[in-house]
Amino acid sequence: MDPMAAIRETFFVECEEQLGELERGLVALENGTAEADTINAVFRAVHSIKGGGGIFALEDLVRFAHVFETSLDGLRSGTIEVDSAATAIMLRAADVLADLVRAARDGSGHDHGRVASASAELAALTGAATAQAPAPVDDLDDIVFERVQLDTTPTPAPATPAPLPEARRTWVIRFTPRAEMYAHANEPGLILRELARLGTIDVRLDADALPALDALDPEGAYFSWTIHIETECDRAQIRQAFEWVEDHCALDIDEATDPSAPPATDTDEGLRALLARISQEAAEAPAAAPPAGAPIPAPPALPSASASPVAVTDKRAEQATTIRVDLQRIDRLANLVGELVINEAMLTQHLTAAGLARAAGLANTMESLSQLTREIQHSVMAIRAQPVRSVFQRMPRLVREVAAMTGKTVRLICEGEETEIDKTVIERLSDPLTHMIRNAIDHGLETAQTRIEHGKPAEGTVRLSAIHRSGKIVIEVSDDGAGLDRARIRAKAVEKGLIAADAPLTDDETDNLIFMPGFSTAATLSDISGRGVGLDVVKQSIHSLGGRISIASQPGRGSTFTLSLPLTLAVLDGMVVSVAGHVLVVPLGPIVETLRPAPGQTHRLGAQSRVMALRGGYIPIVDTGVLLGFRGQDETPEQVVALLVEGENGDRIILEVDELQGQRQIVIKSLEANYGAVDGISAATVMGDGRVALIVDVDALIAASRAEIPAAGRSPTPRHEPETLLTR
């Protein structure tokens, strides 16, 4: 990758962070939970995006960010009141800014209408609606330049100590920006203010080059400044103020020939008097055009006042306690640590075999070694862990959009955003969460009218929370809507043939019907949650993350989706089994229970198939060894252990294995990287003895069993229940 592309990539990564910061700040302002620094943080976020956008000449982005920044500045200085109307506009603007950033990143187009309307809203807020619009020619007479306040007084206390008069020198700076400088979103006002921090300055604007209005190129550059500065700084320090614009301006810095001579005081005072008169006139008759020859303020691209760049830099330095690391490097580290754990286990095994495990000193050393390795393992996992905030912070926008589309008023409450979970899991959480939140607003919440009729507040609430619970992360999406309509769900399930008309179902079981494939109660597929995709897809994606999903609902009170997810995808809870002399791992997730079938519990069905009578039903039996080709059809041993497993789609089969070796947490290794996909096997792992064990893909086995064993009918009367070894 060439360096510029790498910088560009970094810029967009940072943009995402800044957008998150922006949204968080605006939401805090909206909720009234803002802290003293929140407005500044919000401003900095937009400012940084604008600055970066300027470097990459992303004009649309810069232009919009600029309008946005101006409004935020009003917010900061108190000229715009922080009320719900203002924050709503700001939040919409933040969404548009996010779109522009993404459009710039992907090189895709964006919705010009939306950008324009957001700009107009912001401008209306700022009260400067015409600031950006190029004037139509026939309206020339009505054009009035807005007076822009250039505050050149140094805001923070100068960092330099009290200057010694004898060290002071006077410099004359001639500064003539070219159009590119403005195009890159640089502002002379900021530079002048930066200079003002260095010493006493006297600035004069030369607007002679300014053409008549009809000949004026709105993106042109016509001004130059002559600055007299009295300072103890040297040429290099002065030049530093122009560091960012040096390539885009003509700049002369000379030491004044006669330092004692005050810079043309007469003109200066004349100018001040003129300025005073103009501002007075402008205040009295805002529509009156300034007299010709009067200093015309800087081009309209300038905002009034802006953040002190120094303050921004300081904040940056303070935050720079994190580093960016390539995920692959961390994965490699995690891999090596996994190996270390295995090697440690092997060492212990060998020591025990050699009868040395109890030897003086050795036992202690081994103990501390194993503690160290485990600590390293946890630390590495912690590096991969990230707060769920990154996915949660996308949701407020979604809620706004869906609320707008459905015409409902919705408040989103996020809790536990700091809860940490593996990065890979986070990335794959976004879609299911989006779906569930859409669902909660579209189907869960009632309209404001209905809510009021039921004595509820008109505004619906959707709550999104994350919490760690016994080695898992539990995410809940709940709404205070109508709850599930069980009668309708039941009717629908019967109609679609998903359940028998007389099936006895508990409320919970009825609720969970909504996760079945082919189930969708919405009469019409709405644009919002419909899309022809049901909650079964959500369930599948949660399952593929090794998690579980369930729903609880109270009529009239609302529904709660509960997701329980593993903290990492790199580790899996598995049941270690042996089959025909091979060691396999069955993921614990799909195992419903483990049985040792009593003699006579299994029944032959046709030439090859067998079923097991279990609680009044018949479950097809599959010998894992046969299915994986480890042994022939008739080689199934007498004594087997049966695992009742349930696939993603709810199908249940019994997997026969020879022996259980116990539950273990295992590290998942790719089999496909160096070999390829294997039917019935999802991945591999390395066991304590250093050997590879394969992880069974339960869903593939269920599918394979369907293919090999024809649809099962009913077999003779059930006998007594098999002995249950383990129930989950």
Binding site: H582, L628, F630, K669, S670, E672, Y675, G690, R691, L694
Partner: protein
């Protein structure tokens, strides 16, 4: 190694690693070789072709082992601790080649490689043997490993 070959190698060398499989000698481009390991029992893969002995653990990565004797259609060998696994990089995949022993490191002139004579050889030999090298009265077959894993096994994503 003859002086001729050594001289040729300095001029434009092709470095090869030679190894024995059964009674025959083969060689591969040494640039594909990552490391050599002693044989350890492999974990069988379901539905795998007979020449794939299984997978072993290579410092945390899962390494498939190809039994070259079977792959080349030679007499099968019962692997023991004295067998050697050549860890080779083929495309994006790393695989282990089970051989009897590593015999030599050669630097040869590419022009010395002779085409396989048009005799009745097995399909496997025609598929993998790219050329023949005369070295000190021995004959070493140069192998092309690109298709050592069958094409019906998908490449890594």
């Amino acid at each position: 190694m003859t002086n001729d070959l050594a001289f040729a190698g300095q001029r434009q060398g092709l470095m090869l690693m030679a190894f024995r499989v059964g009674a025959q000698e083969f060689c591969i481009d040494i640039m594909t070789v990552r490391e050599l390991r002693g044989w350890t029992p492999a974990t069988a893969i379901p539905h795998a072709p007979a020449f794939v002995s299984g997978v072993i653990n290579l410092r945390g990565a899962v390494l498939p082992i190809v039994d070259l004797a079977r792959r080349l259609g030679l007499a099968e060998s019962a692997p023991s601790a004295r067998h050697v696994v050549i860890v080779a990089q083929i495309g994006s995949q790393t695989i282990g080649l089970l051989v009897d022993a590593v015999s030599d490191i050669l630097t040869v002139d590419e022009t010395l490689i002779q085409a396989t004579p048009d005799v009745a050889v097995s399909e496997q030999i025609r598929m993998f043997v790219e050329g023949l090298l005369p070295v000190e009265g021995r004959m070493i077959s140069l192998l092309n490993l690109d298709r050592v894993l069958p094409s019906n096994i998908p490449e890594a994503a």
